[in-house]
């Protein structure tokens, strides 16, 4: 169990709803769910979730902390925003799902090896590195997350796509050596670091 998690458990004891309200992006809206289930029915990956947003909200209210933070359901969100626009209570469901995933990831409770968790982490780190996303290193990085052997297999499987994009001038193999990025990289990194620091302070994470 991560240090952050031990502290969180101690801090909120059994009040998981309060923990979510204080520490999860838009978490204060969880209590406003009226359990109609429109979100569950609107989600493109609905059948693939173990717990629909509707259930996640109910589980939070029922104090099922381990089940919620250990669930891979939030990582099924494609950010299509269907649930947001259809929710009659106007809950920012997409953001709450992102927020919960972020929190679970942060506490080290999110499922290990969950592909979207891995990809999303890779994506952020990729963009932070240069200030802009490097599509080639992102793609290669992703295909190699599961280890070298399976990465080569996947990459070979996708080779035609890469080749096609290359021929269509839409993938630059030179990117692997640098490519696009912001000029004031130092300033960019300072902003990201400062923002993270403020957020940690605000949400009561001890560094």
């Amino acid at each position: 169990m991560s240090n952050a998690n031990v502290q969180a458990v101690a801090r909120y004891q059994n009040d998981f709803l309060r923990e979510v309200e204080e520490r999860v992006e838009e978490g204060h809206m969880v209590k406003m769910c009226m359990q109609c289930g429109v979100c569950a029915g609107s989600c493109p990956f609905g059948p693939d979730w173990e717990h629909s947003p509707q259930k996640i909200f109910m589980m939070i209210r029922a104090g099922k902390r381990d089940e919620v933070l250990g669930s891979d359901s939030m990582f099924m969100c494609t950010s299509c925003y269907s649930c947001i626009v259809r929710c009659p209570r106007e809950l920012p469901i997409t953001h709450i799902m992102h927020g919960l995933a972020n929190y679970a990831h942060r506490l080290g409770l999110a499922p290990k090896g969950q592909p979207t968790r891995e990809f999303a982490t890779l994506f952020w780190n990729n963009l932070v590195k240069k200030g802009r996303v490097n599509e080639l290193t992102l793609t290669l990085g992703h295909y190699f997350t599961n280890g070298l052997v399976s990465g080569i297999k996947t990459a070979l499987g996708m080779q035609r796509i890469g080749l096609g994009l290359f021929l269509a001038k839409r993938l630059n193999p030179m990117e692997i050596f640098g490519g696009h990025g912001v000029k004031d990289l130092k300033g960019f990194h300072a902003i990201v670091a400062k923002a993270k620091e403020i957020e940690d302070r605000k949400k009561g994470f001890t560094a």
């Binding site: 209590k31 406003m32 009226m34 359990q35 509707q54 259930k55 109910m58 589980m59 029922a62 209570r89």
Partner: protein
Amino acid sequence: MADNKFAAYICSGCGLGDQLDIKTLEKIALKEGKMQVVKSHPFLCNAEGVQMINDDVEKEGVTHVCIAACSRRSKTEAFHFPTVAMSRANLREGVIWVVAAGEAHDEVRQEMADDYVRMGCAELKKMKLPAGNPDKAHSKRILVVGGGMSGLTAAFEAAEAGYETLVVEKQAQLGGWAANLWKRVPFKAPYTEPQDTGLADLAAKVGSHPLIKVHLNSTVAETAGAPGRFAVKIAQESGAVTEETVGAIVQATGFTGYDIAKLPELGGGQANVVDQAGLESMARAANGATIKRADGKDVKSVVFLQCAGQRDDSGKHLPYCSGHCCATSIKQAMYFKNANPDIDTVVVYQDLRVPGMGEDFYRSAQEKGVTFTKGKASGVESSGNGCKVSFRDLILDEETSINADLVVLATGQVPSAGVELDAWTEVTNAADGGSAEAKQQKIVMHKSSVLNLTYRQGPDLPQFKYGFADSHFICFPYETRRTGIYAAGPVRRPMDLLQATEDATGAALKAIQAVENASLGRAAHPRSGDLSYPLVRLEGCTQCKRCTVECPFGAIDEDEKRFPVFNEQRCRRCGTCMGACPVRVISFENYSVDTVGSQIKAVDMPDEFSERPRILILACENDAYPALDMAGLSRTVYSAFVRVIPVRCLGSVNTIWITDALNSGFDGVMMMGCKKGDDYQCHFVKGSELAHYRMSKIGDTLTQLGLEPERVVTQEVAITDNQRVVTLINDYVAQINELGMSPMKGFN
């Protein structure tokens, strides 16, 4: 009285002149219709046309007017001649708008118009101008039974409108159920906090109103009479009786809570389990501070169980939803949260139903941190120093439980509607048969009666469903089957305070309408303003009691010899008595067995080789006839072989009309009336149902005549069925064509 003078006016406007031979129509009105004056006009409903008719009435002594133009439902303001009897031949909506266009149809179109002119003239010949009920009743005072929120509102509204009002309340103080509430569900923006009930203020206003007289500790010992002349005995607990005359009555006797002792499975009877009324008492005692249990302990956690003993399909408890309880539990949860936000408040619901602006209130409770859990409670046990509530979580689909200091059961409303009339009739029959036990039972029942009506039909309002007092199922709330008596508030259906207040206001207005109509000798709803009333030739009466039994409104009593005694002010003029009478001694001046019978006989009947069947449609004027008019309005073509006669209600259809129609060679008779049954739409509640019942018996007669049963059919038609009526007609004509022409043709 001057001699009758009959006149027919034929309009050639709206395309009538282009599609019909007006000269032929004139000739028919004169020769066959025997009208003394026959005129046509290119635009009869304009000022000039109307003036022409008015001149004839005033200067030429015309007493009876047949307007052959559009539907009787059109141009009613132009064709308003209150001093003469009037019939309408429907040539526009009934003929040119529904018969197919083109020369090929000229002949059938003209035949149809010819017949409607014949029918209009024949009807007119049998009509009299209604003189109005000479027996007017003049009391305009209003009696309100029940001094709760509904009753006080009704009394206050009626008095504010200028009507003297009496309030009878059985308890020692005004207020009823609402007086026990700490706060009420909000009825004003922003709908976020419980509000003061406002009851003390209302009671004070009623108590001091110069037009309102309040009888406390009192009940109604007897109600006799009719609208405008109810004679009411008000009995005080002490035994003193006051006699009062009132014009109309509002019954606002409210409800009692479902007894939680009947819910042991949900902890009913346990010390820490209360109903919503019980919680209100605790909240009043706490006076805004933390609510304490009976044992003095502060409540730190509370669970509300919705639908306790309600929406029950096992047959053990109330089958219905009481409507207010979700919002009430939300309000009560706020009592706790407002006193201390750390109190755990959980509402376990199956479907949270918060009508009106309740959604805002619900959101407000969520914001305050009230937890709402979709679940179905399976049991409440005493556990430690509190309760353990077991329930099935309906979202997570699992059995689970919570502990709480206190459990509140949201039980339902049980109406205080008095005596159930079917049971009453049964007991009365047994008592009349000499049963001593039944006689005793009858006395007990009388004591539980609210109104103690002296009507032959029993002492209280008929009950509709689940024991709630009668009110019109779909169209007309407050209207009961006892004219001049209006049910308001939770006695007629489950409702909350806001709905009860609106309901009471509506009922007060209805009562005012009733006393005004009664004082003018006119009918009340739905034929409000009608001056005709049933006339009976008692010398022909066989004392069969069908009219007294079948009258949906309890308007007809019986005298010692079992002759009917009509209470005109109670009568709604539907004509159900006329339809019921086997010896046809009941009629109205402008609507009788003859006015319709003569129309049936006036239709020109083609011979059996003409291949032109004739089908009679008796259409209820409330729904079916407007639907037919609207079919015309949308120019939907239907068979030109039908002849439509509007009737006040299918209940007024006397079987002699059917026999007459078949005897005169009609090939089929179709009746169109409103929906019957529990979800009826009949304006007269039972008329349509009675017609169906009567017609179910006509099959034997048909067989005896050698006619197929399909020659008489009854259909349920709603006002919105303007396309369906066309299908019904065309399908029926096709069916009759299949059957062949009636063998009865040519016998008369």
